[in-house]
Subunit: 525 residues, 2 copies
């Protein structure tokens, strides 16, 4: 699998003449590399609380960018933000059996509301036991459904289109930063509609919002499609996802949109009087995207020197590092850089001001440069005394870090020319990161596999295979279980049925029956 | 106590010829009026979960505005946002005895991580009991202190300046929407410094950020000052607050900034090597502002027709209501309004685009108008066929709803003139709401009271007294307890020692000793 840049071994400008900025490469150990990026880019760290992480400023800054840009798209499609309780009474879950089966095994349960001292230790006060335990929300269909049942009386009250930015908790046994944590941050949209058609339209509209957001803002190419029956959200009639390919070939489900039919409206009594005066159950949807997206961003765009953040979601797009020497020239360099940063911050890109930072921290310029390379700031500018004298700046593009000879590609450019070209360079980096990932995705989906032996061989042949797009007869129930079990034996999963896949024209790879559609198969996170 | 507008009884344009838009006035029952505003302005509602509310779109929209504007000021003063775990292990609390004494009595405790079915009901699984219970954060000093102890090694690592936007839980016995809820939303800043002076400077800087934010953005005049010893945050060396006066004369603590000294750095081992090579404990601070601010906004700016939202924090500043009649004229009216809204949204005010909304919902124009009056949109525009024909709009300013004769003050203005004047009108409304509240605050603080009898008489004389600013000797320990107990008997509390109060020049009203400063006394929320 191509990593974009070739694996290089020597550069006089790198922190070590043999190695990249990280101590482990993707090739050596993808999983250790992922963790190294998180640590070296200051994205997050273990918190000391089981399965929960601390999201550090650079990681949280990326999340704030994701929130801002996704929130704009959620609002532009007519949704309003609300906030619902963190705690959900057990009885709310008891109303929807299928939903609780899907979540009951992994929820945090609050049983007491006070602590007391006992033998010098703090313990839950037995006198403060809750009559009804409260669940820390793993998702909010039940508590939001209860609100919808109060809000919706007539067809005139529909549609209800709301969204919530919140923390949720799922008691995961094996956790991994950003990908699977006990607590995570997300947005969850919840809507109620008068008809199946309208609810399905909403489900697909938000799937498209996720697709375009992932591709346009995170520069992450994805495949949008319906999840097979066995991968549906507990209680959903249909679940749709966007699936992104990581650089190790595995799939990451990066956003889901669910058509819930009347599952939750029946459980929570979301009824309305239709135009004909009859009572009907509302059709509901829900859809979510989470901090998992940051894990995907790392595994799609990171390289052996750290993270590469697409400009649209970078907390800072251009970082200016003054090369100070504790001498008389320093003041002039800082002035020159301050002027540069203020010129850059006055520019607009993607209908927002450019985000440039002057890094004045008391540290060596080379340390700061490599720090920003590891963090993945799209453009790093260095300015020394000679640059000031010549009216220049030294420009490093994070997406093209090295020259063909393996040396760091630091270009000296006239300051005015850099300012004039800065926004188009940022737009170019955004585009280049997408094109790189898109090329990788497209060239690593094999659509030619038509037998289980060939499928097995495809995934056995490489440590980092891509995905297979295979024809199937869309089996259900026990027949589907059999397929899923066989795949499980090969450590494979069904990802989704791509919306834009070609029509089926052959036999089902699993059952031999006539195929009705094509489904993506891959390893996954 | 003046309410700004006189109590009016007749207007042909009001929904009822005798009453205001709300069914209860501030004068009749302030507490019921507060609840009526929350309901009628669609700010929030009971959730069905004990002590937790659902924040509805208009209420959450105000919170989003507060977040945005306060976040800008927090970042402009050098702080970065992070995210720390919701759950705090019990052992973290055990390290800081004073802190836990302040909070242990009101915390939600997670004891299990799984549910099982038993006799047809869901119950916590006895096999999934946590070895160490987890507390749902009531505030994050302990868990953030643990992170700081990892981050801080040398004086070069200081200061650490971070902030978190999060939900917190305190198990309150008596709850009241926005003012005291089991779960609430807030930001909590946490910083670590090398010296007492620097930490104190930070504490005061953030107090000033809160003061200027409250006054400039929420149009809420406040008194900033130090809280007396008995009102300190558990574990703090000094606590500062901003106090706002509600229209019933009570005080609302609207933001606090704490100098924590080494209380938490000692408990969490936040140590650094100073420039001389010696180990020192860091000096820490914390500071927070919450959704309580919305409760304050209601009680400072609301009137008998609902809420009045200052333009800077209004989700929509101008709402355009087309007066449609289901006839041929409608399309022209909608076009006219669409053009108006796009012209308004192209304007800038307070360095942001103006937020105008075209309300196209299928409801009667009068219903929509009164809905926006109750929500408190700063300007409501109505456009009918006659307005279109004349090139006009009908303008209602929410801060001046009625003419002197008691009729709704709806001014017909040329559309172009309104667009040209819109931003200055919004700025004027922002200023008028502040001036109104500032006049009320200033005229309702009595600085002349010098005996306990006079103090008692002042608060007994009126159902809605203001505050008293009295001289005192700043007693501590038992002597302070005695003062606090006496005040409690009168349902009074010490608010703060205003930073800008005149120097003391007499005797302490409580002890008769020589006074050293002046302290605010009042009823409070």
């Amino acid at each position: 699998m191509p990593y974009g840049a070739p694996f290089l071994s020597v550069s006089s400008l790198r922190p070590d003449p043999v190695k990249h900025a990280l101590s482990v490469t993707r090739e050596q150990d993808f999983s250790a590399w992922y963790q190294a990026v998180i640590t070296e880019a200051d994205l997050a760290e273990e918190s000391g609380v089981r399965g929960c992480m601390v999201i550090r400023p650079w990681g949280y800054g990326i999340w704030e960018r994701i929130q801002k840009l996704l929130d704009e798209r959620i609002k532009a499609t007519g949704h309003e933000n609300c906030y619902f309780p963190l705690f959900i009474p057990l009885s709310y879950f008891e109303k929807e059996a299928e939903h609780v089966d899907g979540f009951a095994k992994e929820m945090a349960v609050v049983t007491h509301h006070r602590l007391i001292q006992k033998d010098g230790k703090l313990v839950p006060d037995p006198d403060a036991k809750l009559e009804e335990p409260l669940v820390v929300r793993p998702t909010s269909e039940t508590v939001i459904g209860a609100a919808f049942s109060r809000w919706v009386q007539s067809w005139r009250d529909l549609p209800v289109l709301i969204n919530q930015w919140a923390n949720v908790v799922r008691w995961e046994m094996r956790t991994r930063m950003f990908l699977r944590t006990t607590e995570f941050l997300w947005q969850e949209g919840h809507t109620a509609h008068a008809s199946v058609d309208e609810a399905l339209e909403e489900t697909m509209k938000m799937l498209e919002v996720y697709r375009s957001f992932a591709e346009e803002c995170v520069a992450m190419p994805v495949i949008a499609g319906e999840k097979p029956e066995n991968e549906r959200f507990p209680g959903a009639v249909a679940t749709y996802s966007i699936e992104a390919m990581m650089q190790d070939g595995k799939a990451l489900q990066a956003g889901t949109s669910h058509f819930l039919g009347t599952t939750f409206s029946a459980a929570q009594n979301i009824k309305f009087q239709n135009a004909e005066g009859q009572q009907e159950l509302a059709q509901t949807t829900s859809w979510g995207m989470s901090t998992r997206m940051i894990g995907g961003l790392i595994m799609v765009h990171g390289d052996d020197d750290g993270l590469r953040v697409p400009p649209r979601v970078a907390p800072y797009q251009i970082v200016v590092v003054p090369m100070l020497r504790d001498n008389d020239e320093d003041a002039a360099i800082v002035d020159y850089c301050t002027d540069l940063v203020s010129q850059l911050n006055a520019l607009d890109l993607f209908r927002e001001p450019v985000r440039a930072l002057l890094d004045k921290r008391p540290a060596k310029a080379a340390t700061k440069r490599w720090g920003w390379v590891k963090k993945g700031a799209p453009i790093v500018i260095e300015v020394g005394g000679r640059d000031v004298a010549g009216g220049n700046v030294s420009v490093i593009r994070r997406d093209r870090l090295y020259r063909e000879d393996g040396k760091l590609d630091s270009q000296i450019v006239a300051k005015a020319d850099f300012v004039a070209a800065a926004t188009s360079m940022l737009a170019d980096i955004q585009q280049a990161l997408f094109a790189d990932a898109k090329g990788r995705l497209d060239s690593n989906i094999d659509s030619s596999i038509s037998s289980l032996d060939a499928l097995k061989a495809y995934f056995d042949a490489s440590a980092k295979p891509g995905w297979a797009l295979v024809q199937w007869s869309k089996p259900t129930g026990d027949a589907l279980d059999k397929v899923v079990q066989w795949l499980k034996g090969e450590k494979l999963t069904l990802r989704n049925i791509p919306s834009d896949a070609a029509a089926a024209d052959g036999a089902c790879i699993f059952t031999g029956d006539t195929a009705v559609e094509r489904v993506l198969v891959g390893r996954s996170y």
